[in-house]
C-alpha cells in the first residue's frame, strides 16, 4: 500500500520523526561518547571545566603529545591483565552455548512431540525457573561447591550457566520445533526409521535457523552474566564482567579510571559487531515467543 498519501509529510509524521530521532540520540550517544573518550586521558573524559575537552582532547595532547592515547587500553589489557579475563570469557561462552544448545535441542524436540501431560508441567516448571532471580540460587551453590572443592573453576561456572540457561532454551526450541510439521518425522518413522534416526536424518538438517537464533541468546546470557560469574569464579579465573567490577574497586583509588573505561569499551565492542551481523536473527528471536502468543 505504497500510495502517494502514505509518503506525504503530515504533522503526525514529523512528530513521529522527531521522537524517533530523540530516542536514537538517547540510545546511541552514551556509546559514542564513551568510545571516543576511552582514547583520552582522565582529565579530558572527566572534564568539569569544559565538556568539549573530551572531544578535542586538550589535556590528552598536553600529556601525551597526541590527540589519541592508547594509555587506557595498555593499562587495562597489559598492566591489569585484562586479556586473561577475555580468554576466560571466550572459554565460558563457547562451552555454555555448545552444551546449552545440545541439551536444549534434544529436550525441546521431545517436549514439542510429546502429547502427555507431564510435558506441560515441565514447561511450566521451566517458566517458573526462568522467572526466578539468579541470585536466589547462588547461596545454594556455594556450600556444596566449597565442600567438593569445585568452587572457582571454569567448568563449574559453565555447567551452572547451562542449567540457568536451560529453561529459556527449552521454551524457545520447543516453540520452534512445534513449527516444524509433525508429518515430516512421522513419515520418516513410517518408512522404518526409529525416533532417533528420524531426528538425525529429517530434523537435524532443517533445524539450524532455530538453533542459531536460540544460540545467539545463550551467547548473550553467558557473555553478560555477572551474578553467577562474580560469585562462583576465583580471581584468576575471572571473566570480563566481574573483572570490570573488580577493576572499579582497585583502579578507582589509584586514579586510573581510564583503565576501566577502556575495559568497558573492549567488552562492548564484540556486542556491537554481534548486533551488526545478527540483527535479523535477534529481532526474529525476540518476537518468536511473542507473536505466536
Amino acid at each position: 500500500m505504497n500510495t502517494k498519501i502514505e509518503n506525504k509529510l503530515t504533522p503526525v509524521r514529523i512528530i513521529a520523526f522527531i521522537f524517533v530521532a530523540l530516542w536514537l540520540i538517547v540510545a546511541m550517544f552514551p556509546f559514542i561518547w564513551t568510545l571516543w573518550g576511552s582514547f583520552k586521558v582522565q582529565a579530558d573524559f572527566f572534564s568539569k571545566a569544559d565538556w568539549s575537552n573530551a572531544i578535542f582532547g586538550f589535556h590528552t595532547e598536553k600529556q601525551t603529545g597526541s590527540f589519541f592515547t592508547m594509555g587506557g587500553y595498555y593499562g587495562s589489557w597489559i598492566e591489569e591483565e585484562f586479556w586473561r579475563a577475555v580468554i576466560n570469557t571466550s572459554i565460558v561462552v563457547f562451552f555454555t552455548v555448545l552444551i546449552s544448545l545440545t541439551f536444549g535441542t534434544l529436550g525441546g524436540y521431545a517436549l514439542a512431540r510429546s502429547t502427555y501431560r507431564y510435558a506441560f508441567w515441565i514447561l511450566m516448571a521451566g517458566l517458573i525457573f526462568r522467572a526466578m532471580p539468579h541470585m536466589t540460587l547462588i547461596s545454594g551453590y556455594l556450600q556444596p561447591f566449597f565442600a567438593w572443592n569445585v568452587w572457582g573453576i571454569l567448568p563449574t561456572t559453565i555447567i551452572v550457566l547451562v542449567a540457568i540457561n536451560q529453561p529459556f532454551t527449552l521454551w524457545m526450541l520447543h516453540s520452534f520445533f512445534l513449527n516444524i510439521p509433525k508429518d515430516l518425522d512421522e513419515s520418516a518413522m513410517c518408512d522404518g526409521c526409529n525416533r532417533f534416526q528420524a531426528f538425525r536424518y529429517v530434523i537435524i538438517p532443517i533445524m539450524w535457523p532455530g538453533v542459531i537464533t536460540t544460540g545467539l541468546f545463550s551467547f548473550l546470557l553467558a557473555y553478560n552474566d555477572f551474578t553467577v560469574t562474580s560469585m562462583l569464579l576465583s580471581d584468576e579465573n575471572e571473566t570480563m564482567i566481574p573483572a570490570i567490577a573488580s577493576f572499579l574497586g582497585t583502579v578507582q583509588e589509584e586514579g586510573k579510571v581510564m583503565y576501566a573505561v577502556a575495559a568497558v569499551v573492549s567488552a562492548t565492542a564484540p556486542l556491537f559487531f554481534f548486533v551488526l551481523f545478527f540483527q535479523r536473527q535477534i529481532v526474529s528471536g525476540l518476537t518468536a515467543g511473542a507473536v505466536k502468543g
Binding site: M28, F103, Y116, T136, L137, A147, A163, L170, T227, V264
Partner: protein
C-alpha cells in the same frame, strides 16, 4: 512419543535443571532454617601479683568439631525469617506502638534492610514496566512511519542499550552523570550548583536507576511492538479509514486491540526482569540509597567476613515466594488454556 524415548531425549536437559536449579532451591530452604554455630569460647583467668585478668579465646578445635558434626549449623526454625534482617516482627510491633502517625511508622519500616530492598525493588518494577511499555510503543509507531531506508539502522541503534551487559551499560551512564562527567557537569552549570550530585540524594538516585532501567529495556518492547505492527491486518485499517477514522482513532481502535496479547507478553517478561534488578546498583554504586532484593542476597554472601548463608537463604526464599505471587495470574491462565485445549 513413547515415555522411554521422551526420557532419553530430555534426560540431559532435565537432569541439569534438576541438579542445578531444583536441588539448590531445596538446599537454600534448608540453609535458611539453620544458623551458624556460635564459636566455642574459652575463658581463662590469669592471675599475677597485680591482679587477675580474664582472656577469652576461640577454641578452634571444638568449633571445628561442632561444624563437622552438623555442617549446616544449629537448627533455628523460622527465626531467621523473623529477625531484624528480614521481617523484623518484634521491632515492627514496637515501632507501631511507639509511632504516633502512619508516616512515622513507614519511616521506621525503612530502617530494616528487607523492607528497604522491597520498597525499591517494587517501586522500580512498577514504574519502569509501564514506562517501557508506553515509550516502546510510541517508538515502534514512529519507526513504522519512517521511510524504509531508515528502518534498518534505527533498529540496529535501538538494540544496543538492551544487548549491552547491564553492568557495563550502567557504568557508561554512571560516568556520564558523574559530577565531572558530561551530563553531571552540564547539570551543575545549568542549576549553578557545584555540589549538585545525582549520587548524593536518594530521590535522584532512584530516578537515575529507573531512567537507566527504561533505557535498557525499552528496545525490547519496541522490537516486539514493531514486529506486531507488521502483522496488523491492512484491510481493517483501510476499512476504518473509509469509515472516516482519523489516524489517532485507527491506532486506538484497531492497532492497540490487535497488540494487546503482545503487551501482556512484554509485561510478563519485564516484570520478571525488573524484579531481579541488581547490576545497576553495583554499576551506579547506589547501595547507600537504593538496594534491591538481589543486591541484599549478594550482600549477605559477599560483604561480611563469613557468608551469612542463613540470611541469604531466607532472603532467597522470600524472593522466590514474591516471584510466585507475581507469576500466579499467568500460571492460572496457562492452566485454564491447557485444560480447554485438552477438552476440545
Amino acid at each position: 512419543m513413547k515415555h522411554s524415548t521422551f526420557l532419553l531425549f530430555s534426560l540431559p536437559s532435565l537432569s541439569v535443571m534438576f541438579l542445578f536449579i531444583a536441588i539448590p532451591i531445596v538446599s537454600v530452604f534448608i540453609q535458611s532454617l539453620h544458623i551458624e554455630h556460635k564459636q566455642v569460647i574459652i575463658v581463662t583467668e590469669n592471675c599475677d601479683p597485680f591482679g587477675c585478668e580474664t582472656t577469652t579465646s576461640v577454641d578452634t578445635e571444638a568449633s571445628a568439631k561442632l561444624k563437622e558434626k552438623a555442617p549446616l549449623g544449629k537448627f533455628n526454625g523460622f527465626k531467621t525469617y523473623s529477625n531484624r534482617m528480614h521481617f523484623a516482627f518484634d521491632e515492627l510491633g514496637e515501632a507501631w506502638k511507639s509511632s504516633d502517625s502512619f508516616t512515622v511508622f513507614v519511616k521506621k519500616l525503612y530502617n530494616y534492610p528487607l523492607y528497604r530492598a522491597l520498597s525499591f525493588t517494587l517501586t522500580y518494577t512498577f514504574i519502569v514496566t509501564p514506562f517501557v511499555l508506553f515509550l516502546g510503543f510510541l517508538v515502534a509507531v514512529g519507526v513504522n512511519n519512517l521511510p524504509k531506508m531508515f528502518k534498518g539502522p534505527t533498529i540496529f541503534a535501538s538494540l544496543l542499550p538492551m544487548i549491552v551487559t547491564p553492568l557495563v551499560g550502567s557504568l557508561i551512564l554512571f560516568w556520564m552523570v558523574d559530577g565531572d562527567g558530561v551530563i553531571g557537569a552540564t547539570l551543575q552549570k545549568i542549576f549553578n550548583d557545584n555540589s549538585l550530585s545525582l549520587k548524593a540524594s536518594p530521590v535522584l538516585t532512584w530516578i537515575m536507576l529507573m531512567v537507566y532501567g527504561i533505557w535498557h529495556l525499552m528496545p525490547f518492547s519496541f522490537i516486539v511492538f514493531y514486529a506486531g505492527l507488521q502483522t496488523v491486518p491492512q484491510e481493517t485499517i483501510e476499512a476504518a479509514t473509509i469509515d472516516g477514522a482519523s489516524k489517532f482513532q485507527r491506532i486506538r481502535h484497531v492497532v492497540i486491540p490487535h497488540l494487546m496479547p503482545l503487551a501482556i507478553f512484554i509485561t510478563l517478561i519485564l516484570l520478571m526482569d525488573n524484579f531481579r534488578v541488581f547490576e545497576p546498583i553495583i554499576g551506579f554504586r547506589a547501595e547507600a540509597h537504593a538496594t534491591s532484593i538481589s543486591w541484599l542476597i549478594w550482600n549477605h554472601l559477599r560483604e561480611s567476613a563469613y557468608p551469612l548463608y542463613n540470611a541469604a537463604g531466607a532472603t532467597s526464599m522470600i524472593t522466590i515466594f514474591g516471584v510466585a505471587i507475581l507469576l500466579l495470574p499467568v500460571l492460572i491462565r496457562t492452566w485454564r488454556d491447557f485444560k480447554e485445549k485438552n477438552k476440545g
